[in-house]
Subunit: 213 residues, 4 copies
């Protein structure tokens, strides 16, 4: 675990314990704690720690899951290069429902070509990046249309995303609502199981859920 | 026009006038008013007038659009029989957005097999049938799952439909919101243009929008 | 009527006709059309025409209703001065529901002092000002709290406003949804009736609805 | 604690531990476990265990908090009688936001007398009572109006309640959304602190939050 003391990291640690997995490696802002070589590395840290993550992954040559949000294009490029040496799953959102949201957005956008589109996302007041990584994934699905993202920060909301298409006379919205961070932790664990069976390469969470098509 | 004095009928009449079409036949609770043989018959009446609609369509052998909601299975069966003699488009909802809602529901349901599902619909307080015909179309897409439909009646809401899938840890909703009855009138006009080019047969509004696939 | 060819102006004209009032004065971008001295002046124009509105009101010394949005503080100051000579109702929103939304926002804000707050508004793609005048009225109710307004522009949505309070563990939202511009036209007509009984002075739509408290 | 192994009971136990309180009495379907006389009794059980709760409270003469939902009028009557001997707080919902929702509903209902009203509530699929106790509290605020409650059961939703008022031309909704059961546990703890300072009597959670007015 890298970033095991953050909100998401803590949730992953809880789930690992619950499922009987052992945490043999910890790296956080306070330093490193090694008990054994990890079978899989899970990164839930911040963009500022990203270069450390890369080094750690190279050192252990263990499969890597990157759940950090706020990464830039050049960070993703470095991950893709590293994926020649180890299998990597990277996603800004590890929930099944968000994968479905992305699929539906894609399909709706294809049919409703000339409708307006707006994205809204709401997260807890402590979230550091804005807009959320998931909102950016949705935006990417909408192609070259000019799309505004409205980011709300409220209390400790786990994470809501809405994409709304507006025509003359009607609107169509798709909304995903995360009830707890547990959802993401389960997606990360599912990705870990997926990676144990995979060759080197760069995988999306979409591939973890829907396969390689 | 059959049922030209209802809410939806009035909207269709307005749109026809605006587009320069002439209304040559009217049939309502107050009786009949014929100026000429109609090119297309549009039915926006109530289930109680349905047998009259069938007779009128047979008499003129004009293409028929049926927008009446609250029809029963045996009514639809009669329409299908009549479609051997004239081309017919029948739908409980003539909006493009609702067609997309149905497609997305289908796709989401296929992936989220073990999630719970709920349908909610809201309409104006004067709506006679409950649940709405559109809610029934959504329910049909969800197959054999037990699905509850909650029907709300509020003020003069034009028509909202939401289908929500609920998993452990997240929910995913698709919502259609009709801004005005004009949307439906435009779908009906589009269907009229479609029918003028078609042979006898029973067509859905989905075929008007997406073609025959 | 000033600005009778805009979206809202047209709706007001329709309602006046329906109720048997006669339109004796029109002023729009194309010029003036006087049949008689107006009993009440209704302004649904744009901020750019505001100085013309003031001159016209002085000329007729008729009670004035100002429904134009996007006015600045100095414009309001001029109106207040003019209200020494004629009775004036000014509001950025003439719906009863919005007045209730403002009242509820006030009360919720008083209790939920340390919760986060966010405002969202959605309007048709043709709306010129951003954020909406109503969103600014809501913001004013929230006092000195830092509050973000997210403005969405979609199809021909008549006007939605949501204010959400977010605490640790829960959120509370109040949403107003305008179904058609008719609602605003009715509020304007109600204000006209109100003004016919009033002395010179500057009145809010809140006073039209709830009286002078 | 009575009912400490249920969903809500477990959350209360966690919070008590976290705050350094000790759990000296447990009563659940598996029997009783006494370490000491409790200072306060907290009941998060089911209606079927209600008579046991009453007996336990009499036995210890400790202040009692009743958070069980699905109680009937006669159960409440028994509680009121018992409150001659011990101080009692009873509520179907221990969140601050819900108390505000109830207040706002009251105020909106007073102004929007002739508008339609609908209540919707969504909870996790395991919730036993339907409609929720909170929905019934909202309904009570709406007086003698005929009000429908739509109950949705989806995944593990913590608890959402919406009351919508619908007029001709607009709607106004108030929505409360519980993010986690923790919110309720905190309200229960707050009630426990409140009770330690109170004489015998029957108190609502509204009194815990807003005082005795």
């Amino acid at each position: 675990m890298i970033g095991n003391k953050g909100r998401l990291g803590g949730e992953v640690v809880n789930l690992l314990n619950e499922k009987g997995h052992s945490l043999v490696y910890e790296l956080d802002i306070d330093g490193e704690n090694i008990k054994d070589n990890p079978q899989v590395l899970i990164d839930c840290s911040l963009p500022s720690a990203f270069n450390n993550t890369l080094k750690t992954a190279e050192r252990f040559t263990a499969p890597l899951i990157v759940a950090t949000t706020g990464l830039k294009e050049e960070d993703i490029a470095k991950l893709k290069e590293l994926s020649n040496k180890i299998p990597i799953v990277q996603s800004f959102n590890f929930s099944v429902g968000v994968q479905v949201l992305l699929k539906l957005t894609d399909m709706a956008n294809e049919i409703l070509k000339d409708w307006d589109v707006e994205i809204t996302e709401t997260h807890h007041r402590f979230k550091k990046d804005k807009p959320s990584g998931t909102a950016l994934m949705i935006k990417e699905k909408l192609g070259s249309k000019p799309v505004q993202v409205s980011s709300l920060r409220l209390g400790n909301v786990a994470g809501d995303h809405t994409v709304t298409f507006g025509g003359l006379g009607e609107t169509l919205s798709i909304t995903h609502h995360a009830i707890s961070r547990r959802t993401f932790a389960e997606g990360i664990l599912k990705s870990a199981e997926f990676l144990l069976t995979k060759k080197n390469g760069f995988y999306s969470f979409k591939e973890v859920i829907f396969g390689n098509s």
